[in-house]
Symmetry: C2
Amino acid sequence: MGMSSRWNPTPEQLLALEEMYRRGTRTPTAEQIQQIAAQLRRFGKIEGKNVFYWFQNHKARERQKRRREVETSCKVRKHDTAGNLDMKESAGGLRRTVYEVEQKKTLVPPSSCSEHLEVCVFILINFVLVHEASLFYLL
Amino acid sequence: MGMSSRWNPTPEQLLALEEMYRRGTRTPTAEQIQQIAAQLRRFGKIEGKNVFYWFQNHKARERQKRRREVETSCKVRKHDTAGNLDMKESAGGLRRTVYEVEQKKTLVPPSSCSEHLEVCVFILINFVLVHEASLFYLL
DNA sequence: GCAAATTAATGATTTATTCAAG
DNA sequence: CTTGAATAAATCATTAATTTGC
């Protein structure tokens, strides 16, 4: 039965945290964290580091969500016909987890370029899309 | 009089920390951190978080140094003659701080490609080189 | 020699990524 | 699949080296 290994917010705690977030709290100071934890202890077990991590994660994931929305709305449409270049060929080479980017290519007409260069550009574009939005500077 | 706003290791403390690092300590636990801090307090003011940050930073910067060495040794040589494509043109478009990457280009013969595509590849390669070594999968 | 001005190191924070519990 | 926890990477900020003009 032992207590669970990680903290889980009670509904009251969650509601309170979300309200604070909505009101603008993002990176509370150590003191604020202790105060918040003390307040919310009224609703159940909770310690400072839980509050700290909650705000870290919530902030990061809200941002991530927005970023993903932008990325989706700007998604580059697949352009060619034949069955060359699927995700396996590219993402398979990268070590990092990829957010399952779905677009295939392409920024520039590949007709005048070698196959090799095409592949390079494709892989690079995917990499950049996954990591940063600075690709827009090219468009 | 006024004490400085940030901790600065005494030579003895620094030597001790480097020795621990050399012996394999990388991410000490909270308990280890407290022990280390207590030991080193003998040589001057120091607290747990200083120890924590020191190992974080030292590990990260050793890694970064090695990565930069590899990058340099694999540096792609500048290939063409005319004065197109200097750092301003590319890095200027990226928001992040760039480690002053010095190579210019290029992976594939650009002779058959449009100027626009050349610029794309150049910028993308720089971006990837700065962020990750996965470019090697292409070579 | 010696400060002011630059530059390089590095302590401290913040953000991104990854892992794994549930 | 969601999300708490942890680690790694990037960034900011302050201090120490160093260069430079006198």
